[in-house]
């Protein structure tokens, strides 16, 4: 090690010594611990409040789901009932239509018979008149 290197080594060692002295721990400012504890307490209180709100919100949400489920059930049952009612009404309408058709057919048939009978009576009457005139 030459003189220059020795000097450099000594300078570095002095610098390290100086640094160790200057970088010694300094005490935290007065009341530091109290301020930390206060912030911890504030944050804990906020966290607890948030948890309470979360529990309440969760219960609220659960109640909401129950309400939705109940409403769905009611709508489903109601829908089914409406559907059944409509089907029943449609069936009744079809039956009524059939009865009406039958009644119309019967009336038509009766009218045909009356018509035939009147035609026959009219023909007999004409024949009788013709015979009387021929005499």
């Amino acid at each position: 090690m030459d003189k220059f290197e020795r000097n450099e080594q000594v300078e570095i060692e002095e610098l390290e010594h100086e640094l160790r002295g200057c970088l010694r721990h300094v005490p935290a400012p007065e009341g530091f611990t109290d301020r930390v504890m206060q912030r911890v307490a504030t944050r804990e209180a906020a966290r607890k409040q948030k948890n309470r709100l979360a529990v309440f919100a969760s219960a609220h949400k659960r109640a909401g789901w129950w309400a939705v489920a109940a409403a769905t059930l009611v709508f489903a049952i109601g829908g089914d009932m409406v559907h059944l009612h409509h089907a029943r009404e449609a069936r009744r309408a079809a039956e009524a239509q059939q009865q009406l058709d039958l009644a119309l057919q019967l009336t038509n048939h009766a009218l045909d018979q009356v018509d035939t009978s009147m035609e026959r009576t009219r023909a007999a009457r004409f024949t009788q008149i013709a015979l009387e005139l021929a005499k």
């Binding site: 640094l19 160790r20 935290a28 530091f32 611990t33 504890m37």
Partner: protein
């Protein structure tokens, strides 16, 4: 590791000086350093159940204090070297040299330290302020050991060069 309120208070009491010192040496501002140190302990309160021993707590505090100080500097875009005038005003008063027992040369040393690049300053603070080995510093900062050694060497050389200039000015003045 769990702690009651009193036990946590004891932990804060016993480590506040270390955490505050690391933050102060890295950010160069007492107000910001206290803010960083408080945040570190608040974070500790949250993480404490996952830490296993007193040594683990000390290592965790040193690591988080280092990272949070760096974050604070970047967030506020505070370059300590840019505050040298303010720093001088605040620290040149007798008995207020950042709280350490440095003389006027020591004050100059602190100022030179704050003018170093962030990575070199961090390594020097951990090496000479916290008395950590390069391997321990690497574990703290998350850098490879070779990088830590390089920062250490360059930081010392830079300080030495700055020191010789300051010493000449000191002798001339």
């Amino acid at each position: 590791m769990t702690a009651t309120e009193d036990e946590f208070r004891d932990i804060v009491d016993s480590h506040s000086s270390m955490v505050f010192s690391v933050a102060l040496r890295l950010v160069g501002d007492r107000g910001l350093a206290e803010e960083v140190a408080q945040d570190v302990f608040l974070e500790l309160h949250h993480w404490l159940p996952r830490l296993e021993s007193a040594d683990h707590v000390r290592h965790w505090l040193r690591r988080v204090a280092t990272h949070r100080s760096t974050d604070a500097l970047r967030r506020r875009k505070v370059r300590p070297e840019g505050q040298s005038d303010e720093w001088e005003d605040k620290h040149d008063r007798p008995g207020d040299s950042g709280g350490s027992d440095c003389g006027s040369m020591g004050v100059a040393m602190e100022r030179m330290l704050l003018s170093l690049p962030e990575a070199q300053r961090t390594v020097l603070v951990l090496r000479y302020g916290e008395d950590l080995t390069p391997e321990e510093i690497a574990r703290t900062t998350g850098d490879p050991v070779a990088t830590v050694k390089s920062h250490l060497q360059r930081g010392l050389q830079l300080l030495r060069r700055k020191g010789s200039v300051v010493l000449k000015e000191y002798v001339r003045g």
